[in-house]
Amino acid sequence: MDLVLATGIQALSGIATLLLISLGLAIVFGMMRVINLAHGEFLMLGAYSAILAVQAGINLWVAMLVVAPLCVGLFGVVVERLVIRRLYGRMVDTMLATWGLSLALIGAVTMIFGNTVAGFSAPLGSVQIGAYSTSGYGLFLIAATMVLLAAVWAVLRFTPAGLIARGTMQNAGMAAALGVPTERVYALSFAAGAAVSGLAGALIAPMSGVVPTMGTAYIARSFITVITGGAAMLAGTSSAAGLLGSVNTLGTFVTTPVLGEVLMLAVAILLLRLLPQGITGRFFRRSL
């Protein structure tokens, strides 16, 4: 019984992590059809912002939940101005430019902060489940991811800004003709995506090795999740994270960590072969 519960929690945790690290990328891709290959470095910047803020004496929770998204969101505004805006509609060029940005960010952070930064450990202690113990912070991550997802959904669904975002996503030209300053919508979407990435980076910081190159461990995973999910940013990313996360976690349990990864990639490839437009290209098409 406790084995089932503990395993379930691990699966949920795997799903939540995947969702958390992919959401920022999904927002930017869903809104703007821009693939931000510097997304991994946005996570890294979020983790660094949180750690540096904690070192500066700021409360841990404030550092993770406020400082990190704010810093990376502002950085997103700058990147959108200087790079993304100039390359709208040129997907390959944007990928190349953001890839360059990712290398530059790794280099810059290494130069400024060196290869190592003293992280902080996960708060909230551990929780005993029968014979197993799991981290309280891991449970918090699951809850935080669900709250974040619900918050993004509520903003899109119930606020005027969300209405504008949804319409612009579906038909930018028509939105512009109706009076929407689409450039500003894009700039804000990119900043919002960056802020969510920064938050995600800060939230995973206590559970991961925070080094300048940490983004590379995440970018492929989040990229696969978003592409497998398809166009609908929330439904797509959630369903893809749910599927790939459980395949990976359960695969790791039943076989080995190597095969767990292989299985996850195999499922992603198979899905894209069957549903080239992603899961939401076929199912939940009208959802967010």
């Binding site: 005027p160 579906q170 038909n171 028509m174 003709a177 009076g179 300053p181 009208r286």
Partner: protein, 233 residues
């Protein structure tokens, strides 16, 4: 109210408009008649700012709006009902309408209620996704949506395309009502009956140029129609 002077525009290196000139007086309805592929849609997209122009001027209330992005043109009074309607497919009918109000920074409740007064057909559809409506319902929605932006000049692109005659009649009647309240209209069409029912002046577009004005009376003469348009009415 609006003047278009020697407009040159196209797609990439393909020229479509080669110096199009026309004017719309305040409160009038100008109809532009032309075959498929003559540049009607291109003209409206260029006026709306959705297509970059390579030459010419677009004057709205005497001021050149050529350098303005589409949303600024929308905010200065242009309303657009595009060909194919371009309803937001996953927004509900209500949200499609609210969108047009919120897009210009307005408060949605009152405006949408007012517009719905004039489009009672949409009332029972409010919760449906825009993509699930029939063509005729979508056309009414597109018109209602444009009106939610409180335009002064409405650009209508083939509103009768693929729509049953009863709805066409409803649209004609709706636009007449709006014109009585001062709305100006620029209508591009292939449907002779429809254009005849609405337009004060009718211009003929051929290969991206306005080639001549057709007196409304001429639309009744099959021989003239044959000559101008190449189709029998």
């Amino acid at each position: 109210m609006m003047r278009v002077e020697s407009l040159v525009a196209g797609y990439g290196r393909i020229g479509v408009l080669h110096g199009t000139t026309l004017g719309v007086e305040a409160g009038s309805c100008v109809g532009i008649l032309g075959h498929n592929g003559m540049g009607k849609t291109t003209l409206l997209r260029a006026i709306m700012g959705l297509l970059p122009c390579k030459g010419g001027r677009i004057l709205l209330d005497g001021r050149d709006i050529q350098h303005l992005p589409p949303h600024e043109r929308g905010r200065r009074g242009l309303g657009y009902v595009p060909q194919g309607r371009q309803i937001f497919p996953s927004l509900s009918v209500l949200d499609n309408l609210r969108f047009a109000v919120v897009a210009k920074g307005g408060k949605d409740g009152d405006v949408v209620a007012e517009v719905l007064e004039e489009f009672p057909e949409l009332r029972r559809l409010l919760d449906r996704p825009g993509g699930a409506l029939s063509g005729g319902e979508q056309q009414l929605l597109a018109l209602a949506r444009a009106l939610c932006g409180r335009p002064r000049l409405l650009l209508l692109d083939e509103p009768t395309e693929g729509i049953q005659p009863s709805i066409n009649a409803a649209i004609v009647e709706r636009i007449h009502a709006l014109r009585r309240r001062g709305l100006s209209v620029l209508l591009v069409e292939q449907n002779l009956d429809f254009i005849e029912a609405l337009a004060d002046r009718i211009l003929l577009i051929q290969r991206g140029r306005i080639t001549r004005e057709i007196p409304p009376a001429a639309l009744g003469d099959p021989a003239l129609v044959q000559e101008f348009v190449g189709t029998s009415a």
